[in-house]
Symmetry: C2
Subunit: 267 residues, 2 copies
Amino acid sequence: VTAADAPGAFPTSAAIVGVGLIGGSLAMRLREVGVHVTGIDRDPAVLDQAKARGVIDEGTTDLDAVADADVVIVATPLAQVVQTGVAAAQRMRPGAVLTDVGSVKASVVAAIDAGLPAGVRYVGGHPMAGNEKQGIGAADAALLDDRPFVLTPTERTDPGAVDLLRAMVVRLRMRPVILDPAQHDELVAQASHLPYLVSLALERSVGEDARTVAGPALVQMTRIARSPLALWDQICRANREAILRALMRFETELAAVRRDVEQMTPR
Amino acid sequence: VTAADAPGAFPTSAAIVGVGLIGGSLAMRLREVGVHVTGIDRDPAVLDQAKARGVIDEGTTDLDAVADADVVIVATPLAQVVQTGVAAAQRMRPGAVLTDVGSVKASVVAAIDAGLPAGVRYVGGHPMAGNEKQGIGAADAALLDDRPFVLTPTERTDPGAVDLLRAMVVRLRMRPVILDPAQHDELVAQASHLPYLVSLALERSVGEDARTVAGPALVQMTRIARSPLALWDQICRANREAILRALMRFETELAAVRRDVEQMTPR
């Protein structure tokens, strides 16, 4: 079932809990496509800024406000996703759909599923969007364009909730990708967490003097290394085993590249 | 002495030998700032395309045409730079200035200096610009904006030639950086050649299935890996020792990153 098949399934109201880079960007795009967006954040200054920028329709520090939404999106830092998701679920109305944007899914999905009250439908989510910045000031709906938005249903997940979120993702102008939570963690270790760690090592290995001759490749490849360490610390803890496997794949390929260079003869 | 100090020192005519991605981009910007540009390429089709796009004022396959230029820029693939530079120098008029855009400088500068006829002034050059593409079709003056353009004079180099090229670089809207040729090679091994090899290893280590969830960081970090292998093969051969040193620095930092992840405890 897609939005075109069942127009009534598309949400008309959403609550975003955590109005930062990703939450804010999702809020902007949701408003663009006609969804009424309530921003919930523990920092009133963030809500003021979000309202001033037109990112949200209304803002509150009270989590009870999730009761009015068809869809609730938890977009806090990863370390707070489970606690916030379970607390939001207790306050949601029956039939509403809960998702989150945490970068790691197996542990998050298991923990939220375990704390879910009857009637609330949850599907893990992960929009593969963003940049090295953070906070509402950096939110930008264009960051979402054509990016994958992973949904991670399990055997326990209500198929109608997946359909509704898939329709929402398409309206966000993103690409829905359905994966098992553990499979998600394995793939993003390679496609997202590994690139960050490689960028960090590259950034640290290039001397200050070499930066005077930096070409476009170095600039592009070290941009993500400037994203907040605390954010990545949470991700690495939560997805440590898959990340170490991805690092090993990379080290194997790097060793092969080194051998190729070692075996070259000057021309 | 800068262009502002000595307006007469700025070249009014240039010959670009090798009208590809970099040669074509330089030609476009030189024409924008009022320099008459002759394109020289062994492929007449390239010259036709360059003329059709307005990249050059005139084109010829005859290297003798360098005789009319104040400045001659050799922008062939690295493997042909020395031979082409020496051949061009034999045909240049006394007092004219020769430079090149080769990605490696110590060996190139020594070889061209050794083949230089009296009266022709040579300064090694390296504009830190470009992308993963190649050929005149990808030439774009905007690639040059605010990028470093390294000049590598030696004790043998005429200072007036350095001044003239520095003034030209500023007019190209690039940033002149003066380095010893060996120092250049050491720094670009870190800032340009290492990022390429890291990008290549990353590209090879990410599985096909993981690409379905690729975020912006992976896309940015593997773009340069798609540049022509043959081009990088020449660079790695010519700068092998400095590249292996840069790889070792990176491997040390990557090992430290791995240890940090290994020592993490899940939260």
